[in-house]
């Protein structure tokens, strides 16, 4: 069994805060979680604890004891920095380090005794760890044992560092109460009924009988009680950084030569991502400019992909949109990795779209059309026919069995004209007060000779049949309200159109063609 050291930072949220604000150490201060009067004390300084403030108290309770109690909320940045610092301390001693929890780090210490030639190398190592953590402004307790569980329990004992000789884990744990093994609540109830109070009591029970009565959780707890840790050390691996770049011999001033060298870098990135089964979800480009300066940009992708052609197209579009403004003498491409979505194929149902291929397709469409030009249509509340919305395309999995073909209702559809096309309408006189070209029956439609309507479908001709009007009122409670009188018209030259007259302006529009 490898020898393991456990570093525990007591009251970690408070220790992380004191590391950033050392002046609080001498004050009565507490770190809280939650907001307002619902906030609870997570940890308090020694002076506050002497005043009676305990973890779990509400803020009013704590303030009733110490009116001038200084309070701080949890700070993710402080705690993240403290956690990283603790990992660095451990990594300074051993390459095999596990980040187990907030303020808890394990490290493998086999072979380190050569660096501590005294009579008790492990004790000296424990001291060295405490001193190194102290330099990083983190108070730590150290426990050394042959299993993670025993090392952690040892670290929480008074008199750091605590050493458990190899093979004596069970004897060390035996007198401790059962709660040190963090058992499940229902298991604790059963063990109490049996009269089991300490770890040693549990370890003495027959393993098979415990497993048959308490199940898998009981079997695991029994193993822990005997000093056998089922969980090995899982070494911490820093997240991989996918960066490729190049310093150019001559500064580049046009986009094509740059894309030529960028393609090679993207291909290298793609191969590295593929090797780890990852794809790029965000691409960052840093351009070194001549004579000095740096130009950075970030490309967000709609779905993870590692296809070079797509990434290169996005890069080209972005550079054409916002050129760097100076010759480029070097560049760095950094891909933020993400795991591609996987799907299960069906034997009997229709084939699902391959998630990887779909992601590439969406990225290509994004590069071709830009955002807001593709997606899954979504119905929108309201009555205006031209309303529409797009959401990200994420189709549900196909049915497991291919369904029988179903017949539709055979409905006549309207092809919507977006935005509504302004037209001139010769109409009968409408009701009094509606103006000369008011809401009467349309007789003839004419195309407006305007620049914005030149490239749109021509709608003109004598009205053969007209049906209407239907009133549409929407948004009268808002500033942009809509009041329209709708007509269905058939023109003598063919074609059925949906037209409306805007009651506010009196103008006519065509907003759909029955087709």
């Amino acid at each position: 069994m490898p020898r393991l050291a456990c570093l525990v930072v007591p009251l970690f949220p408070l220790a992380a805060r004191l590391r950033s604000e050392p002046s609080l150490k001498q004050e009565a201060a507490a770190v809280l979680e939650g907001n307002g009067n619902a906030a609870r004390v997570l940890a308090a300084t020694r002076r506050a604890r002497r005043g009676g403030v305990l973890p779990g108290m509400s803020l009013p309770q704590a303030r009733a004891l110490i009116p001038k109690l200084l309070t701080r909320g949890r700070d993710a940045l402080c705690e993240g920095a403290a956690r990283a610092s603790l990992l660095e301390v451990a990594a300074g001693f051993s390459p095999r380090v596990e980040d187990a929890a907030e303020g808890v780090v394990f490290l493998e210490i086999d072979g380190l005794e050569r660096h501590f030639p005294g009579p008790s190398p492990e004790h000296d190592l424990g001291h060295a760890l405490t001193v190194a953590a102290g330099k990083a402004q983190l108070p730590v307790w150290v426990g050394i044992a042959s299993s993670k569980l025993a090392a952690r329990v040892a670290a929480e004992q008074p008199g750091s560092p605590t050493l458990i000789p190899d093979g004596s884990e069970a004897a060390f744990l035996a007198p401790l109460p059962l709660v040190r093994l963090s058992p499940a609540a229902e298991v604790v109830v059963s063990l109490r009924r049996w009269g089991i109070r300490s770890v040693g009591d549990l370890a003495r029970l027959p393993a098979n009988d415990v497993a048959s009565r308490l199940g898998e959780s009981g079997r695991e707890l029994h193993q822990k009680a005997r000093g056998i840790d089922p969980h090995p050390l899982v070494p911490h691996q820093p997240p991989p950084v996918f960066t490729e770049g190049l310093e150019l011999e001559w500064p580049l001033v046009s986009i094509e030569p740059f894309l030529f060298v960028a393609r090679a870098a993207l291909e290298r990135l793609g191969r590295r991502l593929e090797g780890r089964g990852l794809a790029c979800v965000r691409l960052e480009l840093a351009l070194d400019l001549e004579p000095d300066g740096c130009h950075r940009r970030r490309l967000e992708l709609p779905a993870p992909t590692r296809e070079v052609k797509t990434l290169l197209t996005l890069l080209r579009l972005d550079l054409e949109k916002t050129p760097p403004g100076a010759p480029v003498c070097g560049f760095t491409l950094t891909a933020e990795p993400d795991r591609p979505v996987e799907a299960q194929l069906s034997l009997f149902g229709p084939a699902a779209l391959s998630p990887g291929r779909l992601a590439t397709t969406l990225a290509r469409l994004f590069a071709l059309l830009g955002s807001g030009r593709f997606g899954a249509p979504r119905p929108v509340d309201g009555h205006r026919p031209e309303r529409s919305a797009l959401v990200a395309y994420a189709p549900p999995p196909p049915p497991e069995v291919r369904p029988e073909p179903r017949r539709g209702h055979g409905l006549l559809q309207v092809r919507v004209l977006r935005p509504p096309l302004p037209i001139e309408v010769i109409a009968d006189a409408g009701p009094p007060g509606d103006g000369p070209n008011g809401g009467g029956r349309p007789r003839e439609l004419r195309q407006q000779a305007r620049e914005d309507t030149a490239r749109r479908p021509a709608i003109r001709g004598r009205v053969r049949v007209a049906a209407g009007p239907w009133n549409l009122e929407e948004g009268w409670w808002e500033t942009e309200n809509v009041e329209r009188d709708y007509w269905d018209v058939e023109l003598a030259g063919g074609g059925i159109y949906r037209i409306f007259r805007d009651r506010g302006s009196g103008e006519w529009f065509a907003d759909g063609i029955y087709d």
Binding site: P350, S354, Q413, R415, D515
Partner: protein, 263 residues
């Protein structure tokens, strides 16, 4: 060599060509009975089908029926909508499963063609390229482009439906259907309010590559959404039959009230 035997012998190239022409997968059923009849079962996979139709010919309704059929079957479908004319609410009412539909809205023919090819290579079972109405921004596209699209559809075994106001795909299309003769169905007259009740159109088969039984023409009748009534259960013995009166149809009451108000 006897003539009968000579007719039954083929070269390897001929056999490969015949095999390639055979549809390996079942046709993609559309939700339109008339269009399915015309295509002898549905949209063939791996082929380019062109549907030609002028305004108010029922072309867009057939397009949405095809999308409804594919999405109801659980397949992924894409609509490249050059005219930007899709109404999501109406599409949902026509049976299209919107979550399975990818709506692409290019503004020019060239990105529309590239989008269609991208979608075909992306594995969509049905890709519909709708060119809208003339003037189509970007013209007709070249023969080579349409051949390239047909090849992409064949390679991925996807169905490609091109809906256009005039013939565009040339020899690349395996099937060409034409929607025409659209005639609006009006209800009411001088004394009663006039209402658009639907459209009577006709689908004709202009071209079909390869052998296979198919109907030469099919009538296409489309109901206005406000005038549509779900098919009723078969009448019991002794019960009166016939269409329900207009005022009993869903959505018609308020319509009639408004018409009466308008005089």
């Amino acid at each position: 060599m006897p003539a009968l035997l000579h007719r039954r012998l083929h070269t390897g190239r001929e056999l490969i060509r015949r095999h390639a022409d055979l549809p390996a997968d079942p046709a993609l059923s559309t939700a339109s009975a008339a269009f399915d009849e015309l295509l002898a079962g549905g949209l063939p996979r791996g082929r380019l089908v062109e549907l030609v139709g002028r305004r108010s010919s029922g072309r867009f309704s057939v397009v949405l029926s095809a999308l409804a059929g594919a999405t109801l079957a659980g397949e992924g479908a894409a609509l490249v909508d050059l005219g930007d004319g899709l109404d999501p609410q109406a599409a949902a009412a026509a049976g299209v499963v919107l979550e399975r539909l990818l709506w692409v809205r290019p503004s020019h023919l060239k990105p529309a063609l590239i989008s269609a090819e991208t979608l075909l290579t992306g594995g969509f079972a049905l890709v519909v390229l709708d060119l809208g109405y003339p003037p189509v921004p970007g013209g007709r596209g070249t023969e080579a482009v349409w051949r390239r699209l047909a090849r992409a559809a064949r390679d991925r075994r996807s169905a490609l439906l091109v809906a256009s106001p005039y013939r565009v795909s040339g020899t690349a299309a395996a099937v060409v259907a034409r929607a025409g003769g659209g005639r609006p169905l009006w209800r009411g007259g001088r004394r009663t309010p006039r209402l658009l009740e639907g459209l009577a159109s006709h689908l004709e088969l202009e071209k079909r590559r390869g052998a296979g039984p198919a109907a030469a023409g099919q009538p296409l009748t489309l109901a206005h959404p406000a005038a549509y009534t779900a098919p009723a259960a078969p009448p019991r013995r002794g019960e009166a039959t016939g269409a329900p009166p207009l005022a009993e149809r869903p959505g018609e009451e308020c319509r009639l009230e408004r018409l009466a108000e308008a005089g």
